[in-house]
């Protein structure tokens, strides 16, 4: 490569909002309903049906806008985006073109060169489309409209990002803001957060933008990083060989690590937007805005600051725990039940992270309750179970959220605190292992480890190793 190039990236991020019902009708948004069970005349575009805006959608959109430093459009409305495609029963998508709910915002990301602001061009409210399934048997398409009308916000960034790393940081930042607000669970794999990448390259120092392409079908952070790398190289290769980049939409195939142009929807990208006459305009009052502002929960940066002040735990722990809203909630709830912050943090940073990694789960999928974690910590504090048993109980708790106190009781895992019984076992072990006893007495300190092990085994693991050690030394 003779010239130096710069990559310019802007993102369109779609986020499915965590409402109970669709954006314009009272159909459920729950996952897993049988095909077309969550449909009605409104979300299937029957003539004469009347859409009515779900107030919660507006609240979430405004909340995200405020958290992303946007200007809130005080008088906004909905427009129809017209296109024919089987996923869209109305033949138009209700969206916002002329007066989107939020404009001109920014979020800050960390880069190796320090903090960087990524501009947000706009955020608008719109509805999702139905799901298309390919029928392999008869080579046709099957359509399920359960997702049709599920509320989305689309967050359009400025072309402010220059690398895959910056894109990932930006997405993680958005995800955390939105998860903290409770506006969406933002799962890329499940499609509740989707990103389209607009990318162009230009020679370093150039101020005009190159021709950009749009990439779709990116459903993991890793796929996004690979797609950016792939598309950047493809465009540079074109320019280097004297060819031109064609403005088009490309679909990323993560398995093949390559992208290919999508067949355009009847080659006419002419959406003929016009105001939706079925939906009345939305006027946002000062009172409404204040109400949302007052309800804004503590976001991550504030939470991290508070943790530093309130809890004596390492900075690294704070970063990991607040990196998931769900984990932070569990942490705080467990502490409020009386558990020591450091102990709670240790369980989260140790066994929890280990099991999450082993089972390839997200922190958002943690199922055990704060009450049960607090219960387990109490058991270890009272020395009612030793650390090996505690880890074993935690493993079961992680899977099934059992009550550790009851479980320990039922399975008879409690440490034997009866000093007499423990002493008798130690005496038996000493009598049964004359060789080790001899070794120890001859100065082989390590031999005591074997005797501790034998005692623990005889006690079925239900002894406090400290007490066993003490008794052995006393009796030898």
């Amino acid at each position: 490569m003779s010239k130096e190039y710069e990559t310019v990236i802007g993102l369109e991020v779609h986020v499915e909002l965590a409402t109970k019902t669709k954006i314009f009708c009272g159909c459920s948004t729950a996952f897993g309903g049988s095909p077309n069970s969550h449909t009605c005349p409104v979300c299937t575009g029957m003539p004469g049906s009347l859409p009515v805006l779900n107030k919660k959608v507006l609240e979430y959109a405004v909340a995200v806008g405020l958290a992303a430093n946007c200007r809130i459009t005080r008088y906004c409305k909905f427009d129809r985006k017209n296109y024919f495609y089987p996923d869209n029963p109305q033949n138009y998508q209700i969206s916002q073109l002329y007066l989107p709910i939020c404009t001109d915002g920014w979020v800050e990301i960390e880069t190796p060169e320090g903090q960087k602001k990524i501009g947000i061009h706009e955020i608008h409210m719109e509805e999702d489309a139905g799901k298309l399934i390919h029928d392999e048997w008869e080579d046709r398409t099957l359509v399920d409209y359960n997702r049709s009308g599920v509320p989305l916000i689309e967050i359009v960034s400025e072309p402010d990002m220059r690398s895959a790393d910056e894109v990932i940081s930006y997405l993680e930042k958005l995800r955390l803001i939105i998860q903290y607000l409770g506006a969406s669970d933002c799962k890329l794999q499940e499609g509740s957060m989707r990103a389209d990448v607009n990318l162009s390259v230009r020679e370093k120092g150039e101020t005009a933008f190159g021709t950009r392409t749009e990439m779709k079908n990116l459903n993991s952070f890793r796929a996004i990083a690979r797609a950016i790398e792939g598309e950047k190289n493809r465009q540079i290769d074109l320019l280097e060989s004297g060819e031109k980049v064609v403005q088009e939409t490309r679909r990323w195939d993560d398995a093949k690590e390559t992208s290919y142009p999508m067949r355009s929807k009847e080659d006419a990208q002419d959406y003929r937007y016009f105001p939706d006459p079925d939906l009345v305009p939305v006027s946002i009052s000062d009172a409404f805005l204040e109400e949302i502002r007052a309800k804004q929960p503590e976001l991550r940066t504030e939470k991290m600051k508070r943790y530093r002040e309130e809890y004596d735990i390492p900075e690294y722990d704070i970063e990991i725990i607040t990196g998931s809203k769900h984990m932070a909630d569990i942490f705080e709830a467990t502490v409020s039940l009386g558990a020591q912050p450091k102990k709670v943090s240790n369980w989260l940073m140790g066994e929890t992270l280990r099991l999450l990694k082993e089972k390839e789960m997200d922190p958002e999928e943690i199922r055990f309750s704060p009450e049960h974690l607090a219960g387990l910590i109490a058991l270890t504090e009272e020395k009612a179970v030793n650390s090996t048993v505690a880890k074993e109980v935690f493993g079961v708790m992680f899977e099934e959220d059992i009550d550790p106190q009851r479980y320990v009781e039922e399975k008879g895992l409690k440490t034997v605190s009866d000093e007499g019984a423990l002493r008798r076992t130690v005496e038996e072990v000493i009598a049964a292992n004359p060789q080790s006893v001899q070794d120890y007495r001859n100065g082989k300190e390590k031999a005591i480890g074997f005797l501790v092990g034998q005692t623990m085994k005889a006690m079925k693991g239900k002894a406090d190793p400290g007490s066993v050690n003490r008794l052995l030394k006393e009796l030898l």
């Binding site: 009272g26 049988s34 009605c40 779900n54 099957l142 105001p275």
Partner: protein, 97 residues
């Protein structure tokens, strides 16, 4: 008629509207659309500089619903509109991206 609709335009509109027109229908549509544009010209003679663009015919705003599920299983009614059905889904000709 001041406006003449070209063959190119009518073909493009037909693609957008998913219509297949016979030759006679094409000629009629060209004439009709030309007259519609003439009428728009007439409207454009009005001075609307001081008039706010209207986005809705009624002076109504802020009509909301609460986020509560009010609809049950609508699949039976919805699927009545399916030309063909399989596994409770609409079966349509194969689509591409």
């Amino acid at each position: 008629m001041a406006h003449t609709i070209t063959d190119e335009t009518i073909d493009y509109v037909a693609i957008l509207a998913k219509l297949e027109l016979s030759d006679a229908e094409r000629e009629q549509a060209k004439k009709d659309m030309g007259r519609m544009l003439d009428y728009i010209d007439k409207l454009n003679e009005l001075d609307t500089l001081s008039v706010e663009p209207m986005s809705h015919v009624f002076p109504v705003q802020n009509v909301f619903r609460e986020d509560e599920v009010t609809n049950g299983d609508g699949s039976a009614d919805t699927l009545k509109n399916a030309p063909e059905e399989k596994d409770s889904m609409f079966a349509v000709p194969r689509t591409f991206d």
